[in-house]
């Protein structure tokens, strides 16, 4: 039970950047991960905290040049209520509704989910499946990191200690479909046993293009199942393709046993979910 840390509450990004540049500082957005970490004493408690809740530049949901752009401070409740999300990327709404319960949705943020980088972070497979880009910034400038390069190792990201996540950009290519599925033991307040996002573009004659199969809770980071993607690339969602993709996915995944589930179960469920999503897409 170490002593409590100090906290800064800036209103502007440049102030936040100064703080981060000055030394080890832990941002806090909705606090739904940070405050739990403090209770659990999971990690040494940072001496300095940086409250992001007053920085307006981190908020907002916009359409920009063919992309949907969400501020890092966007809460799940804001996503659930957003007409733009509902229209352009409804899986975000669907996924946000499965996170924790109302209290967590009111406080928890997209940026927090990304920076926390839990393998069970429910939004993360959607970022991978949609080729989202994460805009980060600090005193050294801003840069855009593709989601696929962001999650480096267990709870390790490409974000530097002096950087903040500013926005997430979801490209909206025409003809793309995205699906989301989460499986847990409990029906509310459930931590995922497996979470999956599936995306594809369909232009009729050529079969599925740019197929993405992304999963959470089956590895140390959220991952894409590249071999399975390859099988589906150029295919159509037929029963045969679904059977084959499911079989490849089982072989491709290498999850672990823990208190929440077994490796076998995770592998098997991932395959069944993929199969279902393909069946629903194929309408058979």
């Amino acid at each position: 039970m170490p002593a409590e840390p100090q906290i800064d509450v800036p209103r502007h990004l440049f102030e936040a950047y100064e703080r981060l540049a000055a030394g080890p500082t832990r941002p806090i957005a909705g606090g739904t991960d940070v405050m739990v970490a403090i209770t659990g004493e999971l990690a040494p408690i940072p001496e300095r905290m940086l409250d992001l809740s007053r920085i307006d530049a981190l908020r907002g949901i916009q359409l920009e040049a063919g992309s949907l752009v969400l501020g890092a401070r966007t809460t799940y409740t804001e996503i659930r209520r957003s007409a733009l999300c509902r229209e352009h990327l409804p899986v975000l709404v669907e996924a946000a509704a499965t996170i924790g319960a109302a209290q967590i949705q009111n406080r928890g943020t997209l940026g927090g989910n990304i920076a926390n980088a839990s393998p069970a972070g429910d939004m993360l497979p959607i970022l991978l499946a949609t080729d989202a880009a994460i805009l980060v910034g600090g005193q050294r400038g801003e840069r855009e990191i593709p989601a696929k390069d962001f999650f480096i190792a267990y709870r390790k990201t490409a974000l530097a200690p002096d950087e903040l996540i500013l926005h997430v950009r979801f490209p909206l290519p025409p003809g793309r479909e995205v699906r989301f599925r989460k499986v847990g033991t409990r029906r509310a307040q459930a931590i995922s046993k497996v979470v999956m996002a599936l995306a594809w573009e369909d232009f009729g004659s050529t079969g599925w293009q740019n197929v993405r199969v992304a999963l959470g809770s089956v590895a140390a980071t959220p991952i894409r199942a590249r071999k399975t993607e390859l099988i589906l690339e150029g295919a159509r969602p037929t029963p045969e393709a679904a059977d084959l993709a499911a079989e490849i996915l089982v072989r491709e995944l290498n999850p672990i046993d823990d208190v929440r589930s077994t490796a076998d179960y995770r592998r098997m469920v991932s395959a069944r979910i993929l199969h279902r999503l393909l069946r629903e897409a194929g309408g058979w």
């Binding site: 606090g31 319960a101 209290q103 967590i104 307040q189 208190v259 589930s261 077994t262 179960y265």
Partner: protein, 938 residues
């Protein structure tokens, strides 16, 4: 750390606090502003007890740092009252609907609901469930909570100004059977009830236990002087050597094996070895690694196999082979009867540790008052606590006073000492008040659990479908210390075969020591584990004989006139046949619906399968073959107040209300007249523990006798000619300073209370001028070596149906509906009986599908899952009232019975749906899926 000024509006008042900016808002509200209505159950976002409204949205205040509250508008439960002490409409609805049992979740529920209704006045029931999905309740099964919120919504939509329900206010003689609100309910919905953590005297010190990281180890404590000099704020350091009295306690006189502080050897992870006493800041600055402790870890005995192995180390010298106790019941020749049977079935069952997960962790405060000690503590058993604390301090029991706080859930877990020992020792030694509030992980590591079990059972049946013989052996992991292990070992053999008649039974049990946390009392004392086996066997045998599973149970059900396996003849109130008959139409309809669903689901789409299962139970009320008396006093004070002095603790189950209802009718006054003094060992007589579903039956009888005694004395004083009771009996009314008695013929007489001398009652502060007293002890006999005798005076019976949906690909199970029929003798308060059934079903569902405590690994409420509102099925309660002649107004009990049939019914329904029998609990998706695969492969 530097504190800063944080300003916000709370409940309409602008407030500034000077606090560290990272302090949790929950702590700021409670400790700085005294708003104790906001509860803390986990500090991890999991329980929702701390939910407040911040900027119009519901948030968990334990996850909000004070800095983020700056400039906001906050509403807490205290802000919902209509005015001081008067419930707002939502609060009144919770009270009227029985939506608050222990009440610890109530403030969070109310704030979630208020926020929801403010944002969406038309919220349908699904939206209500979504809105309260983040608040856990362990008592109610959420049913009445959703009803109360829906009722408030409806009343607001039609513009009703105040309370939505109409409070039930029965006249004299009509309390029993009526749905009066909980007599102690108002403070619970107002948020003013004080629980274990809510008593914080000035000058209070905290005590922090240093706990073992090892399951089994020897340890030495080195020189503590450097620690003292580094932390001058340390007031006391307590080790085993400092325990003033006996450093061994335990439930049974022969089983006092648990130290308050381990003495050189630890036997489970989380066992306390040393206690630090200081202010909170001093304690916070000391890391566990600062302490001079040398550990010598030893190979732990992790479970039954380890403990029973030939080479296993002996954990307690008094129990070589690690068997704490054996239980046995034998009747007839089981082997012969099984051989002669037309068909038999055998099953192996394994269940795991289950955590009580009451939302209120253990908490309390101790004060030394001269040579006495007073504990204000959350408990189910004040008198037992008193005797245990006396033992540990080495003082007479009369010098210990236990004052129970409002109890935020018990379910058996608060029948053992929690914080008691260390706060008592610390206060005794320092002379200062000492508080302890366990964190959630601490509570989950150190408190007792439901016994894991390993059971093998065989049942036989003759060609006509009549049960013949039952053989049962169960091993129960009792953990590091005896606790309630003997109770489990003795209760299970009596109930092992289920509520059915057999010619021959052999049931044996062992409670086995391991290096796990102690397993203790948990709703049902081992009977829920045993019921998994007997109900699976009933299904199996019925299927072998191609007899309907409900009819098979009905044919074999115990009933009035039956003789139990312990040789006891049931003379009355054995209403299982009535329960099964009440379920029959539901059973037939649900089975047909499930079959139609499954037949139609052959084509495309997700092939979810449905199934219906049934579980039946019986449960002896009160302690097994042991005297367990209850004494209750009832008095009239010199200023004409009627007071029930009741040592039975209301842990949310509603004991206080039921006893007031019984006493009111027996005295012949409206229930609203009766004041209650509850639980305080200085002010009430010993009513025994709130356990074994005994308070309605045992204390109910004591309350009835006390009230009848009081009535008799009043009528004597009034010189009434015919002091009988009954519809046309004399009426008693209380007026200022006097009692008026009106006889059926119209003659009235008055008793001037000022003229009467004071009479002694246990509560010396009560100025009673007339007092009645009642004692009741159930009639039982000792059991012989074969378990034959009369273990209980009466039994509760019940049966439930579960209608489930199984996703065979994912192994997930959704319980759609439960229909529950329970013979309660007489429902003294039907709302409360339903509430017990709903809550029992929620716990039974958790036991069946999701709850698994793994020592050292699931010590929080996100890895240890209990059902949320989203997991609950629709529930229909069918109350069967087959009166118990010896019960108060015919009543028995329902607290534990409600939980027992749920899991067997769910497991039976899974079997019906997908053809697999899950025998290792909980039936998590991976197990269900693996079983389905194994069956397909076989």
């Amino acid at each position: 750390m530097t504190a800063v000024d944080i300003a916000f509006e709370v409940n309409g008042r602008q407030t500034t606090v000077h606090v560290e900016p990272m302090r949790r808002l929950s702590d700021v509200l409670r400790d700085e502003l005294g708003l104790f209505g906001t509860k803390v159950g986990c500090e991890a976002g999991d329980c929702g007890a701390c939910t407040v409204r911040l900027g119009g949205r519901q948030v968990e205040s334990c996850l909000v740092p004070a800095a983020q509250a700056n400039g906001t508008t906050i509403q807490t439960v205290e802000g919902l009252a209509a005015r001081d002490g008067v419930a707002g409409d939502l609060q009144a609805a919770f009270l009227d609907h029985g939506a608050a049992q222990c009440g610890i979740c109530t403030p969070g529920m109310l704030m979630a609901a208020e926020t929801l209704l403010a944002a969406d006045p038309n919220a349908d029931d699904a939206a209500i469930r979504d809105g309260i999905g983040g608040v856990l309740c362990r008592c109610t099964g959420y049913v009445k909570i959703v009803e109360a919120i829906a009722a408030t919504r409806d009343a607001r939509l039609v513009g009703a100004a105040t309370g939505v329900g109409s409070p039930v206010v029965p006249v004299a003689g009509a309390a029993v059977g009526s749905r009066i609100a909980k007599v102690d309910g108002l403070p619970r919905v107002l948020g003013t009830a004080r629980y274990g953590a809510d008593h914080r005297p000035d000058d209070v010190l905290a005590v922090r236990a240093i706990r073992s990281p090892h399951a089994r180890a020897r340890f030495e404590i080195g020189d503590l002087a450097p620690l003292r000099s580094r932390h001058p704020g340390l007031v006391d350091i307590i080790t085993a050597a400092d325990v003033p009295g006996q450093n061994r306690y335990g439930i049974y006189a022969t089983g006092k094996d648990q130290p308050a502080l381990a003495d050189g050897v630890v036997r489970h992870p989380g066992e306390a070895i040393l206690a630090l006493v200081a202010d909170e800041a001093t304690l916070a600055a000391i890391a566990d690694s600062d302490l001079p402790i040398t550990w010598e870890p030893l190979p732990p005995v992790r479970g039954l196999d380890d403990a029973l192995a030939a080479e296993a180390p002996t954990l307690h010298d008094a129990s070589p082979g690690n068997v704490l106790i054996r239980g046995r019941l034998a009747r007839g020749d089981v082997d012969a009867a099984l051989v002669a049977s037309h068909a038999t079935a055998t099953i192996d069952v394994e269940t795991t540790f289950v955590e009580h997960a009451y939302i209120e962790p253990e908490a309390g405060v101790a004060r030394r008052v001269g040579d006495r000690i007073e504990l204000t503590v959350s408990t189910q058993a004040p008198y037992m606590d008193r005797d245990e604390v006396a033992l540990i301090l080495g003082i007479p029991p009369a010098d210990v006073r236990i004052i129970p706080t409002a109890c935020g859930g018990g379910f058996g877990g608060k029948l053992d000492l929690g914080v008691h020992a260390l706060i008592a020792i610390a206060a005794w030694r320092t002379g200062r008040p000492v508080q302890a509030v366990w964190t959630r992980p601490e509570s989950m590591a150190a408190s007792p659990k439901r016994h894991p079990s390993r059971i093998r059972a065989t049942a036989g049946v003759d060609a006509d479908g009549r049960l013949t013989a039952y053989r049962f052996h169960g091993d129960f992991d009792t953990g590091a210390y005896a606790s309630w292990g003997p109770t489990v070992a003795n209760r299970v053999p009596v109930h092992a075969m289920g509520p059915y008649g057999f010619d021959a039974v052999l049931a044996t049990t062992r409670a086995v020591y391991t290096n796990n946390p102690p397993a203790g009392a948990f709703r049902g004392f081992g009977v829920p584990q045993a019921s998994i086996a007997h109900e699976a066997l009933m299904d199996d045998l019925a299927a072998q004989l191609q007899i309907d599973a409900l009819e098979f149970r009905l044919t074999n059900a115990l009933r009035a006139g039956s003789t139990t396996a312990s040789g006891q003849r049931l003379d009355a109130s054995a209403g299982l046949p009535a329960c099964l008959e009440a379920l029959r139409p539901h059973w037939q309809r649900l089975r047909a619906e499930a079959a139609a669903h499954n037949a139609g689901a052959g084509g495309s789409g997700v092939r979810v399968r449905r199934g219906v299962g049934i579980g039946a139970m019986w449960y002896g009320i009160g302690n097994t073959s042991m005297s367990n008396p209850s004494t209750i006093e009832m008095g009239v004070t010199d200023d004409a107040r009627v007071v029930l002095f009741c040592g039975a603790v209301d842990i949310g189950q509603g004991a206080s209300t039921v006893l007031v209802q019984i006493a009111a009718d027996a005295l012949g006054v409206p229930a609203g007249v009766v004041e209650l003094v509850s639980g305080d060992t200085d002010r009430t007589a010993d009513a025994g523990k709130s356990s074994a579903s005994r308070q309605t039956f045992v204390s109910g009888n004591a309350a009835r006798l006390a009230a009848a005694d009081l009535r008799r004395q009043i009528l004597l004083l009034a010189e009434v000619a015919d002091p009988t009771t009954g519809a046309d009996a004399a009426a008693i009314t209380f007026e200022e300073g006097r009692i008026v008695v009106t006889e059926p013929g119209g003659r009235t007489s008055e008793i001037d209370l000022a003229e009467l001398p004071l009479v002694p009652v246990r509560d010396v502060s009560a100025a009673c001028v007339i007092a009645g007293r009642g004692t009741f002890d159930p009639r039982t006999t000792p059991l012989d070596a074969d378990g034959q005798g009369v273990p209980y005076q009466t039994y509760a019976f019940g049966a439930q149906l579960a209608d489930v949906e199984v996703d065979p690909e994912l192994g997930t199970v959704k319980v759609r509906r439960i229909v529950a029929a329970h013979d309660v003798g007489r429902a003294i308060n039907p709302t409360q009986v339903e509430g017990q059934i709903h809550g029992g079903i929620a716990q039974g569902l958790g036991f069946a599908l999701m709850e698994a405590y793994v020592p050292g690994r699931t010590e929080n409420l996100h890895d240890y899952l209990i059902p949320t509102v989203g997991d609950m099925p629709e529930i229909e309660c069918l109350l069967i009232e087959d009166p118990e002649p010896s019960g108060p107004y015919g009543a028995k009990g329902v607290g534990e019975p409600a939980l027992i049939p749920t899991a067997p019914a769910i497991l039976g329904a899974i079997h019906d749906a997908v053809g697999v029998r899950i025998t290792q609990l909980p039936a998590t998706p991976d197990r269900v899926r693996a079983a389905i695969l194994a069956r397909a492969g076989a």
